[in-house]
Assembly symmetry: C2
Homo-oligomer: 342 residues x 2
Amino acid sequence: MGSRSHRSVTAQDVAKLAGVSRASVSRVFGNQGNVARETHEKIVKAANELGYQVNFLAQGLNRKRSQLIGVVVARLSDPFRSSLLEGLLNEIQHKGYQALVTEVRGAEELETTMRRFTQFRVSGVIVTSGQPPAELVKECVQHGIPVVGINRHMDIPDVDFVCSDNKMAALLVAEQLMRCGCHSIGWLNYQQSTWSGINRGDMFRQAMTEKGLLGDCDFQHIIAEADGYEGGRQAAHRFCAEGKKLDGIFCANAQLACGFLDGMRENGLDAPTDFHIIGFDNTPQTAQYSYRLTTIHQDVTETAKRVLSCLEARSHDPRIVQRMEKIPVKLVLRNTSPGQNE
Amino acid sequence: MGSRSHRSVTAQDVAKLAGVSRASVSRVFGNQGNVARETHEKIVKAANELGYQVNFLAQGLNRKRSQLIGVVVARLSDPFRSSLLEGLLNEIQHKGYQALVTEVRGAEELETTMRRFTQFRVSGVIVTSGQPPAELVKECVQHGIPVVGINRHMDIPDVDFVCSDNKMAALLVAEQLMRCGCHSIGWLNYQQSTWSGINRGDMFRQAMTEKGLLGDCDFQHIIAEADGYEGGRQAAHRFCAEGKKLDGIFCANAQLACGFLDGMRENGLDAPTDFHIIGFDNTPQTAQYSYRLTTIHQDVTETAKRVLSCLEARSHDPRIVQRMEKIPVKLVLRNTSPGQNE
DNA sequence: TTGAAAGCGCTACCAT
DNA sequence: ATGGTAGCGCTTTCAA
């Protein structure tokens, strides 16, 4: 590693040492093939000797595309969100990209964020939070940058979507509650829920109808005034204070579910003795002894795979038809609504 | 926004429309000052008209430095780790950088990761997991890239470190347990713990000694054979199976603590009636009704701030003396070892 | 204060 | 298969 001064080693240096042109060096490190075995070896040897590393900035500038992928996230403190990010990072790196991660709060932030992504000539944008403005997406498309959304409303043209199969989840839950003989059923969601939560609720009501359950069942919508664990907990307290009762409760996410369960416990009620409760997300916490929550499992790994597949497909040909992928979910039976499989 | 074809708008285009040279355009968007008010306005106007955006790749290539900051993470499924990342993202974006996030498993991965960071000419590297090989760090330093480690062993020259004040934590915990009249005290940690966990244990023992507690106290080291929640839970089971007893237990992290507590509960023992238990990290979960865990709070926000301050300082002058910052911690008193403040 | 011009390090086209 | 060369879009002296 004969690095004498400050200047970094360039392809030119390698070319000189190997006695070839810098074009050949570029071919070797740009994976373009078309290099004689012998030349290839000489170049690699020289590169190692000098400690040569491709300058991705220069490469991207030329190719008009970096090996960066922009990821829009929010509220990583939610365990499901961070495990989703984990899955995405995994797949992104696996495919040879690097993740440019930005946390976004408001809609304006999403805008500047996506703009920055384009300024880095990212190879793709993954949106896990917020709704990308159609205009911005258009900008991306013009730059040939594919955009894919995860678990959100699929109403933007030219954007692919990957979403957990909420209908399937709803059916699984409806069947489970029915099997357990529940008659009064509730749906718990945050008042200002994301599209994802709302959709899960819609699908649940729909599933109940299809199963012919809405007739002989009581169906209630429990609205949490705050989000997350505390929201769920407060909802339970209010629920009890109002003297309500329910057999089975399905929750829009794991945080709400854990909170609601704890809230009920504070009121002397517990699952599965007093009611059944089923969550969404299957975060690690739901598996713990204090909760043992029956929950819908979202397949993060599969989601991430599909997302990257969408990205690569559209990157190959930007004008392909919009993809909307549903990822199958599983019902994980645990203590709060027990069944055969455990 | 007169975008006619595919080619993206360049500084050249803006210059032409504004009737100035591209040098001036560069000055405006590179924040170099030295541009007449009038010219400045003309340029901004033209840029808006054309929808001009600086190409960060080209900019970085020239400046030999991108506005990217590399962040090395691992196991984001651990709530503390994801909240730390959240804090870092916040601060990184706040300071006008973009985060290049990479999840790392083994030591080799850290190596290729850091290499990739340098290939993007990042403005800094933040290591939250793994120990950067001295050689690689040297490479970064040669490129003028500052490196800072969070909560890890401070044994690498030219790298700054930011670490929660484990000694302070240990003293707070020792005092609390003493105040509660604990006589047999335990320290729970994962067998193959990170440096952070080991250091916390060392500091705890040291604090106990300094307080003169090791004399009249029984001090045990409980070793968890697995990591995380399950590790803690299993440790509790083994602990009980071996018929051991302890008054007060301090845990290397929140996951272990919650697991241990649940494991004890499965054995019919609970805090604070049968023992006191104090965790580390103050993750959201520890605050929940099912745990109400007394815990050491790490100040993620302050940590992130200091990290970026280190980065910027060393970026300004790479040869400044190594910084090792201790971030003060707080003891959050909750149910598992109650006190005055709650 | 502004403009001209020389690169930054790499890719890709065109010859050979 | 290889080399020459013209950029990619921007920054930064150096002169004016």
